[in-house]
């Protein structure tokens, strides 16, 4: 009996090893372990053995059955894994082919700069507002203490629509509008388009952007102006940014200063600032004895050119997508 068991075992394991598909393995299971299988038949034959042999034969056959079941399961799993792998192999992709995607939307580099500037001032407690580009001489000049005969009023420099209306030449006009409508304290910033009669070249466009802001309160000081603009410069140009304030002249501020930022080894002039001239406050209905105010106006386009290494301002307006997608 023992030899018989051993012979069946050897043969079954050999055939199992040779089986290459799950079906063949299933056939082997039926042949050996099925109802009419060889091992099943041997197990049945145990009853006919002498009582002294029954126990040993029974346990040897049970062991054989367990071993075969184990081997079949293992073999089946291995074969299934191989079949699945073959199936998946046929689904292989070439990962180096281009990905499918909608185009990537890009901010215009000036649009992005404008948003950054708005965020910086909002974080410093400024309210971000907007104003008209079509302005009147009243707001663009007169209320900024720029009298009718001032050289800045020269029609050579501004686009006029009629005797009184023009395209704003600076965003400070928005300050005037806000100051007239509200009461102090105020802390307001605006970013927008301004217009000047400039011939187009690599550094001039008739349309450009300006950020303009002001703060009115009891006890607003020139030192606050320096502090706020230095903070602005650090946020926009990096923590190392240094700011320089040089005396200058604007009809609507007194004292007045020009602002420059130290960037990549040189001073970059970014705009003008100062304490609002008392007459400007008076014209806005604000008592200049009680309140003081600072104001500033900075260019957006030319500093952005330097910051991003753009050498021709016309690139901003040409909108070649190869340019736009670089930012």
């Amino acid at each position: 009996m023992y030899e018989r068991v051993e012979e069946v075992r050897r043969r079954a394991l050999q055939e199992l090893q040779a089986a290459s598909t799950a079906e063949e393995v299933e056939a082997l299971r039926r042949r050996y372990l099925g109802r009419k299988g060889e091992v099943t038949a041997l197990l049945r034959s145990v009853a006919g053995l002498a009582p002294s042999e029954r126990a040993a034969a029974g346990s040897a056959l049970n062991a054989l059955r367990d071993e075969l079941e184990d081997s079949i399961r293992t073999r089946l799993e291995a074969l299934r894994a191989r079949e699945r792998d073959q199936r998946l192999r046929q689904e292989a992709v070439d990962v180096t082919l281009p990905g499918r995607r909608p185009p990537v939307g890009r901010e215009h580099v000036l649009g992005r700069t404008i948003e950054e500037i708005r965020d910086i001032f909002r974080a410093m407690g400024f309210e971000v507002v907007d104003g008209p580009e079509l302005e009147t001489e009243e707001f663009n000049f007169r209320r900024l203490n720029i009298p009718d005969d001032h050289p800045a009023r020269d029609a050579q420099d501004s686009f006029y629509l009629d005797d009184e209306r023009l395209l704003r030449t600076q965003c400070t006009a928005v300050d005037v509008r806000v100051m007239r409508e509200r009461t102090p304290p105020m802390r307001v910033v605006t970013v927008g388009r301004c217009y000047r009669r400039d011939v187009v070249d690599s550094t001039h466009m008739p349309v450009f952007h300006q950020v303009d802001g002001f703060m009115v309160g009891e006890g607003v000081r020139f030192s606050d102006l320096k502090g706020v603009l230095a903070e602005f410069a650090r946020k926009l140009w990096g923590p190392e940014a240094r700011v320089r304030f040089q005396p200058s002249y604007f009809p609507f501020t007194e004292p007045s200063a020009e602002i420059a930022v130290w960037f990549r080894g040189r001073w970059l002039e970014i705009g003008g600032c100062g304490m609002f001239h008392p007459r400007v406050l008076e014209m806005a209905g604000i008592d200049p004895e009680r309140y003081t105010a600072f104001a500033f106006g900075c260019g957006v386009d030319r500093p952005a050119m330097v910051r991003y290494g753009v050498d021709d301002i016309r690139l901003f307006w040409e909108n070649d997508v190869r340019f736009l997608s670089q930012f």
């Binding site: 939307g105 909002r122 971000v128 008739p206 304030f245 005396p247």
Partner: protein, 688 residues
């Protein structure tokens, strides 16, 4: 203004030796911009950029005064010692001012028996360093004194002045003058001129006339040193297209006091260089002398405005060094303003003077102490930002285009004559022929962006702009913000192995972009209606309706326009008004509970005639199904052999749900039966 350092050094007694190189940095800290520095020999010549409020800086003395004030030096003005002879000047010449409003002061000096000739080398050299050419010793003196003091002067040949004198008046109609540059000029009527008894001899403050100029044979000289009105000088100079050293200085507004001292200084130098005798006294017409000005300065105000404590003695010291004369106690100074600083009118001007000389860089950086509300963004800008972000997320690239255009551009994109968008507001003084009007729509500039890119081989262009347009309406000129969109080329990158219709931009891609914006803003109740625009494909165009009116248009750009702009493909464009969208936007959408009951899905294929829009079918289904229909979306459109000619089959996915209970299959089937019945009745629908 070119200023040689050697000249400054002559006028300032320095407390310590100065390195001119350091002044390249120091001048700007005083408000004097340095445009360039030339080293000539051992001298440094600074090209200074001066601000319009400081006429005194257009003379070396004015600059030297700043230098002295800044470094604690002393200003040494050249001593004027005149040897005058009889007869008195007024006996040989006369000056009359008919326009005292335009000429506050006119000072004349007479020098006789001069020998006109070349100037000495030092004079020629100094003028050259300042950028002027030597003419002769008399003319050179007038230029030299102008450079020194900032006061423009002119020299007339007195023997050639008819009647032996000059009158300041306005030009009469038809008067002409041959100016020093040899040009004969027709004078604008009313221009400020200097004339003799017979004719105009000079343009006041701008340029002299050739007839009365100093020549080798000139013996008697009338020197002019006057204060002309800045605006009068500017207008005439501009009208004639002339700009001279003199006009630049007069336009800034001079100092009437200086006119007199400069005349004496010039007479002295003429005598020194050209010999002759200075006749006694000046011819001085100054009917209405300007009173000296006094301005109050409070130390407390100074501190309050600047945010820094400057010791009072230092304040007084700065003011004195600049030529001001402060008097008073510790609570207020009354400051006498020198005549050369007429720009100083109020307390703030003095505060700036103190800050400037004491040093802007020494004022600390502080942050405002005022307690205020946190920063905010105005609601219209919030909506604008949301629209912008939605478009960026939808894969569109932001562009910026000029606000100015030529009306031909409106015509070129297919806006017909008489259309309101053709009514662009013109600029009264355009600079170039292509920028003459304000844009009424973003369409021309966006089509131009497509063109620019396509001709350069950038085939896929998906752009948007949020910008302003200007319209001429019955209510006047309006300024509005609009959103413009333009798309062309592939809407999907990497679409290899895909059919073109899955890859190329279509009307539905454009519509999807618009939907994305509306969804980002949570705009309820909008509707796209098939309505055309002249610049759009007549059968691929729609209006966006919001509430009771259209707020924009979307569609395929008309093939004719595509062809005109060499786009070589179909382009899709839209323009939406931003303000109505911003108004309709819900900034704080409210939570709706998520459903807890299961949904039941059914597909329905509806065959309708070609003219029936998908939206009509959906609307009819929604109406018939009632609130248990949660969603109803077309997912396939079929025309072909299996549907009758002139019809199409629309497959819709219907999702039913009752939030309070589970719908049974029989109920849903019942609703579907009802639906089919209603669609048959209302739209003549058939079912597959």
């Amino acid at each position: 203004m070119r200023v040689p350092w050697s000249w400054i050094a002559e006028l300032v007694e320095f407390p310590t030796p100065q390195d001119p190189a350091a002044w390249e940095e120091r001048f700007p800290m005083l408000g004097l911009g340095v445009e360039s520095v030339d080293r000539t020999g051992d001298d440094w010549v600074f090209e200074l950029e001066t601000t319009t409020n400081r006429p005194d800086w257009l003379g070396v003395v004015g600059v030297a005064r700043e230098v002295a004030a800044a470094c604690g030096g002393r200003l040494r003005l050249p001593a004027v010692e005149l040897l005058e002879s009889d007869p008195p000047a007024r006996e040989v010449a006369w000056v009359e001012v008919l326009q005292p409003g335009l000429c506050h002061r006119y000072v004349g000096r007479v020098v006789v028996d001069v020998q006109v000739g070349p100037s000495p080398a030092w004079m020629v050299d100094r003028l050259e360093r300042c950028g002027l050419r030597s003419v002769n010793n008399v003319v050179d003196v007038t230029n030299y004194v102008m450079l020194e003091t900032g006061q423009p002067l002119h020299a007339f040949d007195l023997d050639r002045l008819a009647g032996g004198g000059v009158v300041v008046r306005r030009a009469r109609a038809g008067e002409r003058l041959v100016t020093l540059d040899g040009q004969e000029r027709a004078l604008p009527e009313g221009a400020l001129v200097i004339a003799d008894r017979e004719r105009v001899v000079a343009l006041g403050g701008i340029l002299g006339g050739q007839d009365t100029e100093i020549r080798p044979q000139t013996r008697r000289v009338l020197l002019e040193s006057a204060w002309f009105h800045p605006v009068a000088v500017r207008r005439t100079a501009r009208a004639l297209g002339i700009r001279t050293e003199g006009s630049t200085r007069h336009e800034r507004g001079g100092d009437p006091e200086r006119a007199c001292s400069a005349a004496a200084r010039a007479a002295q130098l003429v005598q020194q260089l050209a010999g002759g005798r200075v006749l006694r006294g000046e011819l001085d017409v100054y009917p209405d002398p300007e009173p000296a000005r006094q301005v109050t300065l409070r130390p407390q105000r100074l501190r309050h405005v600047l945010g820094v404590e400057i010791p009072e003695p230092e304040v007084e010291d700065v003011l004195r060094r600049l030529g001001f004369a402060p008097r008073g106690d510790g609570t207020r100074w009354v400051v006498a303003v020198p005549s050369h600083r007429r720009d100083v009118e109020r307390e703030e001007d003095l505060i700036e003077e103190v800050a400037r000389i004491w040093g802007y860089d020494r004022i600390p950086q502080t942050l405002p102490v005022d307690v205020m509300a946190a920063g905010a963004v105005s609601p219209d800008l919030v909506a604008e930002r949301r629209v912008r972000e939605a478009l960026l997320r939808a894969g569109l690239t932001e562009v910026l285009t000029l606000t100015l255009l030529h009306p031909g551009e409106l015509e070129a994109v297919g806006i017909p004559e008489g259309h309101p968008l053709r009514d662009a507001i013109p600029l009264r003084n355009p600079l170039t022929r292509d920028h003459t009007h304000l844009r009424t729509t973003l369409l021309p500039s966006l089509v131009e962006v497509l063109r620019t890119n396509r001709v350069r081989g950038n085939l896929d262009v998906h752009v948007f702009e949020i910008g302003r347009v200007f319209r001429n309406s019955s209510a006047g000129w309006e300024e509005r913000k609009v959103v413009g969109i333009a798309r062309i080329g592939r809407a999907l990158e990497g679409g290899w192995n895909l059919p073109p219709e899955a890859v190329e931009t279509s009307f539905y891609h454009l519509k999807g972009t618009v939907e994305a914006v509306l969804e980002a803003l949570h705009v309820p109740g909008w509707d796209l209606r098939p309505e055309g625009q002249p610049w759009l494909h007549p059968y691929r165009a729609a209006s966006l309706w919001l509430g009771t009116g259209p707020v924009g248009w979307v569609g395929e750009l008309h093939p004719d326009v595509c062809e005109r702009f060499d786009l070589h493909g179909r382009a899709y464009v839209a323009e939406l008004e931003l303000e109505p969208l911003a108004r309709a936007a819900r900034t704080t959408p409210q939570y709706r509970p998520l459903p807890r009951t299961p949904a039941t899905e059914r597909d329905l294929a509806v065959v309708v005639a070609e003219g029936v829009a998908a939206a009509d079918v959906v609307r009819a289904i929604r109406k018939a199904a009632g609130p248990v229909l949660e969603r109803c979306e077309p997912f396939d459109v079929y025309t072909g052999p299996q549907v009758p000619a002139g019809h199409r089959s629309l497959a819709l996915r219907l999702v039913f749900r009752d939030p309070s209970r589970t719908l049974t299959s029989e109920e849903v089937d019942g609703i579907l039966d009802h639906l089919r019945q209603r669609l048959r009745e209302e739209l003549g629908a058939q079912f597959r």
